[in-house]
Subunit: 279 residues, 2 copies
C-alpha cells in the first residue's frame, strides 16, 4: 500500500487526495479546514502530512513548484516526488538542482473544471483523462512505475512524454484553446445587451469555458512560449479569415467543406484515446 | 391538463416528449421504435399522434419546418402549434401563409448536446435553459401563454423576442461559436500526431464541441445571414491578432489585460440569467 501525501489542496490537489485516499496539506488554514470537511486527513503542519509518505504529490502553480519541491525533498527525504504543474520544462530544469538521491517524476494530469479550489474537488476528476509523465534528471524507471500506478488508481491513463514535447503540445491543446475562448468571450460580451446571460446557450458557454480560467494561470500559460502561441493563434485567424471570405463571396461549397472537415477533425480529437495512445 | 404531441423525435423532440409526458411521432419507423422503448406513447401514424392534441410541437430542421406546420395545421385544426427550429425569420415568414384561424407561436429552446437523436434525449435537457418565443402573424396572447407554460413545465425560462432580434442574436451566441470551434478543431487536428486523442483534455474538447454539429445543421446556421456571420468572425480574428501581436512584442501587460477582461466577460455571460432576463 503506497502512502501518498498531497501538498496544495486546490481543485487538482484536493481531487488527487480524494481519488487516492491520500493525506493532504495546504498552507491556508481555511483550505485545511474545508479539506477536512471533505474527509481528507489533514495534519496541522506540513511535516506531519509528509511523515512516512512513500510518494508526495505537489499541486501548486508552475512558478511555485520548484521551491516547493526543494522544501518537500528536505522534509521527506525517502519519498518519490511528483508534481502536477501545467508546464513541464521549468519543472524539469528545476529538478536538476534537487540534491542527488532525490527521486522526482514530472507529471501533468490533463483534467480541470470551470470551478476552482477544494470545494470543487472530486475523486472522479481524473477518470478517463490522460496523466502525462515526464522523465527528469532525478527520475528512474521504478519511480516512473510508482507514479504511473497512482495515475491509474485515480482512473487516468498515464502517457510518457518528453518535457519539451509536452510543453509544445500544450500550446495547441491548452493555451491556444484558452486564447480562442477568451477572444470569443470578449467579442460576444461586447455585443451583448441586457439579455446576454439569458441568450448564452450551452454551446457558447462550452466554447468560452476556458476564458474563465484564473487570469494569473492564463497569463502563466500564455507566456510559456509566446512566439509559439502567437504562431498558433495566427493559424486560427487564417482559418477564420478563409471562412469569412467564403461566406462573403457566397461560396456555399467552401463553407460546407469547412464545416465537414471540422466535424471530422473534432471526431478524431474526441474519440476514445486507446486506439492511438502510447500510454 | 394540456395534451401535447411532438412531431420529430430527435434529440430536441424526444426530450420535449419526455419532459412533458407528451405523445410523439417520427416519420422513421426505427425512431418510433426507439422512442417507445424510451417510454414515449408513439402511435403508428401521425394522425393518431395528433388526435385530441391541444398543442403540437414540431421538432425538425428549419428548412423542413414550414411544410410540416402546413401538414400539422390541416391534421390538428384546433391545436396551438409551436416549433423548435434554430432560425426564426424563415419560420415567421412561413407562418403568414398558414390559413387564418391557425394559432402558431414560434419557439427555440436554447439547449443541445454533443449527442444526437432519440437515444440522447433526456427530460432534463431544458432545465435552467432559455426557451425563446416569438410572435407570428398567427399567434395571440393566450397561445403565447400556453406555450410559455409548457416551456416552464420542461424546466426552461421562456423569453419573448422578435424573430429578427432572435436571429441577429444567434449569429453571436450560436453561429459564431460554431465557426470558432470549427476553426480551432481544424488547426489542432492538422498539428496533431498519433497522441492527439490522448492529449485532448477537457478544455480543448469543450472549446471544440460545437465543431461536431452535424455538417448540414452547421451549414444551415452559417448561411442564415452570411454577411453578419462574416463580420462577427472578423471581430474574433481581430481580437486574436491583437493578442498575437502583444505576445510577439513581449507586452505582458497587454496579454494580462486581455485575459483579465476575457474572464470578466465570460463571467457576465455565464452568471445566473435571472438578474438580467426579461423572461
Amino acid at each position: 500500500m503506497t502512502r501518498v501525501a498531497v501538498v496544495g489542496l486546490g481543485l487538482i490537489g484536493g481531487s488527487v487526495a480524494l481519488a487516492l485516499g491520500a493525506r493532504g496539506y495546504d498552507r491556508l488554514p481555511e483550505v485545511r479546514r474545508e479539506a477536512r470537511r471533505r474527509g481528507i486527513d489533514v495534519p496541522d503542519d506540513v511535516a506531519g502530512a509528509l511523515a512516512d509518505a512513500d510518494v508526495v504529490v505537489t499541486a501548486v502553480a508552475t512558478s511555485e513548484t520548484p521551491s516547493l519541491l526543494r522544501e518537500v525533498s528536505a522534509l521527506a527525504p525517502g519519498a518519490i516526488l511528483t508534481d502536477t504543474a501545467s508546464l513541464k520544462l521549468p519543472v524539469v530544469v528545476a529538478a536538476r538542482t534537487l540534491r542527488a538521491g532525490v527521486r522526482f517524476v514530472a507529471g501533468h494530469p490533463m483534467a480541470g473544471s470551470e470551478l476552482e479550489g477544494i470545494a470543487a474537488a472530486t475523486p472522479d476528476l481524473f477518470r478517463g483523462r490522460t496523466w502525462i509523465l515526464a522523465n527528469t534528471a532525478r527520475s528512474d524507471e521504478a519511480a516512473m512505475e510508482v507514479v504511473s500506478a497512482l495515475a491509474r488508481k485515480a482512473g487516468a491513463r498515464p502517457l510518457v512524454l518528453d518535457a519539451e514535447e509536452h510543453d509544445r503540445w500544450m500550446t495547441w491543446v491548452s493555451h491556444l484553446p484558452g486564447a480562442v475562448a477568451s477572444a470569443l468571450a470578449r467579442v460576444v460580451r461586447s455585443r451583448a445587451g441586457p439579455d446576454a446571460r439569458a441568450l448564452a446557450g450551452p454551446g457558447l458557454l462550452d466554447t468560452t469555458r476556458l476564458a474563465s480560467q484564473r487570469a494569473s494561470l492564463a497569463l502563466e500559460l500564455a507566456l510559456a512560449d509566446p512566439p509559439a502561441l502567437a504562431a498558433a493563434i495566427d493559424e486560427v485567424s487564417a482559418e477564420l479569415s478563409g471562412l469569412s471570405a467564403a461566406l462573403r463571396r457566397g461560396d456555399t461549397d467552401a463553407v460546407a467543406a469547412f464545416f465537414a472537415a471540422a466535424a471530422s477533425a473534432r471526431g478524431e480529437l474526441s474519440g476514445p484515446p486507446d486506439a492511438h495512445s502510447r500510454g
